[in-house]
């Protein structure tokens, strides 16, 4: 076995995994607080991608810069969805499944809206650095992927500070850990859920923007990434941010290993194999309950 190919594979797996982690971070945050899986998650990612695409092609904005638009936009969209579409279901004491169905419906609407606006075609953004690589010895990695990884870490760091150090962040954790006690502390649960959904959407919006320079966007891309985010969320232990990162890197490495050593076509299937194995042998996830 060629060592440099192995290191190359693991490296790109880890880098890609950072992005998977960021994609799942929002889903796991939303799950932790609301106890629902947001099935429109991949579609939020799609919006982030199209935002970059439009800003780049129409206004020549660098895809990395467009994050300052996609993040606030997705935050507002997330807030509106929680406030006007999900909260009424909670108020009506509908079971959690109804909320999940609602997110699935939102996903469908977004996919079809994209189809209407952008046609089913695949789009990419071609920048001067799209194909740039950084190499150390025999290992070379895509430069945008490396940047993505670093920015993912930066965003996770900001989220960490927000969740761990601010009163609003502490309130989010409180609601996730004991919702009735959180109420007794005077925390407005509705408000926290709205903020959480907004933050969750903003995180995956950022991920979409970061994905754009290394991938392509099309209307049905959402389901693919909702599924990946779900796998990562479960791998990490449903609700743990740290777990999402560990799960993301695990999935990234497994996929890349599969693509290199087994077959490109089987790489996604391998993700499921790991998913099932973790469910059987570590049902509480790779990380389990964690503070962050």
């Amino acid at each position: 076995m060629d060592l440099s190919i192995f290191i190359q594979t693991v490296t790109s797996g880890v880098l890609l995994g950072g992005l998977y982690g960021l994609i799942a971070l929002g889903m796991t945050l939303i799950f932790g607080v609301m106890r629902i899986i947001n099935l429109a998650h991949g579609e939020f990612l799609m919006i982030g991608m199209y935002v970059s695409y439009i800003l780049f092609t129409k206004f020549g904005v660098d895809p990395y810069v467009s994050i300052v638009v996609s993040v606030p936009l997705l935050f507002v969209i997330g807030i509106a969805i929680q406030r006007f579409l999900l909260m009424p279901l909670i108020k009506a004491k509908a079971p959690g499944e109804n909320q999940i169905l609602m997110t699935a419906g939102i996903g469908l609407v977004l996919t079809n809206a994209a189809l209407l606006i952008f046609s089913p075609n695949y789009f990419t953004v071609l920048t001067t650095y799209s194909n740039a690589t950084a190499s150390i010895g025999k290992i070379s990695v895509s430069l945008p992927l490396l940047w993505d990884f670093l920015i993912c870490f930066g965003i996770t760091g900001i989220l960490y500070l927000f969740i761990m150090k601010t009163d609003t962040g502490c309130s989010i954790r409180a609601v996730a850990q004991n919702i009735d006690s959180a109420r007794l502390m005077g925390i407005n649960i509705d408000r926290i859920m709205i903020i959480t959904f907004g933050v969750g959407a903003a995180l995956v919006g950022a991920a979409g923007t970061l994905l754009m320079p290394i991938f392509y966007v099309f209307p049905a891309i959402g389901e693919l990434f909702t599924l990946k985010a779900f796998i990562v969320t479960v791998l990490g232990g449903m609700g743990s941010a740290l777990g999402a990162l560990v799960g993301g890197v695990t999935l990234g490495v497994v996929e890349q290993m599969g693509a290199t050593y087994i077959s490109m076509a089987l790489k996604d299937a391998l993700g499921f194999v790991i998913f099932v194995l973790v469910l059987i042998f570590r049902p509480s996830g790779l990380v389990g309950k964690s503070r962050f």
Partner: protein, 234 residues
């Protein structure tokens, strides 16, 4: 301070409280005693609006709170220390206390209240950065009370604070409750430790099968024959 009128509370179709009425005067320590399943916790949850009452009215300092969201009741200065502590398990002692003071008024005095809480429970000060789920049962109970105090409550609802504690700790907890009350905080105490709570209370109510069946000063109830046989095992 607190006035409850004709309160009826249901779990689904099962009625847990029947026409419950009582008052808790300002700055007093009032206790509710009753056997398991009598509806004591239900009553406290109805007062803090964790549970929605079917009918009746609750007033706190003249504000009708029936139908409000639970966090609005907390805003009126009601801290509910629930049965079984219900801490935030993956937060440190410090974070649990901090989260008890997220409301603006409490937040403004956070440092001051923290010092007071550490004075009452020095062990919490020593264990500030320990995770709540690794505390001993007694420490957890102190943290639960401390977290409630962080709100700077006017009315403190305590649900079986001595449950599962060693006798030494029980005495300590009751001392602290007396101390809290002497600082001007109105206390509504639910206890299985009938003897001690009646000794300490200004007034007591007996809850049986979801109904208030008896009331009187702590001393009156202590010498009552029914109380003696049913609750004090004398």
């Amino acid at each position: 301070m607190l006035s409850v009128k004709c309160l009826n509370v249901f779990y689904g179709d099962a009625q847990a409280l029947w026409d419950v009425s009582f008052e808790v005067p300002e700055k007093k320590l009032v206790t509710i005693i009753g056997s398991n399943g009598a509806g004591k916790s239900t009553l406290l949850k109805a007062i803090s609006n964790l549970l929605v009452s079917r009918s009746g009215e609750i007033q706190i300092q003249g504000h009708v709170t029936t139908g409000l969201a639970a966090h609005h009741v907390a805003e009126l200065g009601v801290a509910h220390v629930p049965e079984g502590r219900q801490l935030f398990p993956l937060m440190t002692v410090m974070e649990n206390l901090r989260i008890g003071s997220v409301l603006p008024e409490a937040k403004a005095k956070r440092e001051e209240t923290l010092r007071e809480v550490f004075d009452l429970f020095p062990v919490l000060g020593e264990r500030q950065s320990q995770m709540a789920n690794t505390l001993s049962g007694g420490e957890q109970q102190m943290l639960a009370i401390g977290r409630g105090l962080m709100l700077r409550p006017k009315l403190l609802l305590l649900d079986e604070p001595s449950l599962g504690l060693a006798p030494m700790l029980v005495s300590q907890i009751f001392e602290v409750i007396k101390e809290i009350n002497s600082r001007g905080i109105t206390v509504l105490l639910v206890e299985q430790n009938v003897q001690r709570s009646l000794e300490m209370a200004d007034e007591g109510f007996v809850l049986e099968n979801g109904r208030i069946t008896m009331s009187g000063s702590g001393q009156e109830l202590l010498v009552n024959e029914h109380i003696k046989t049913a609750y004090l095992g004398l």
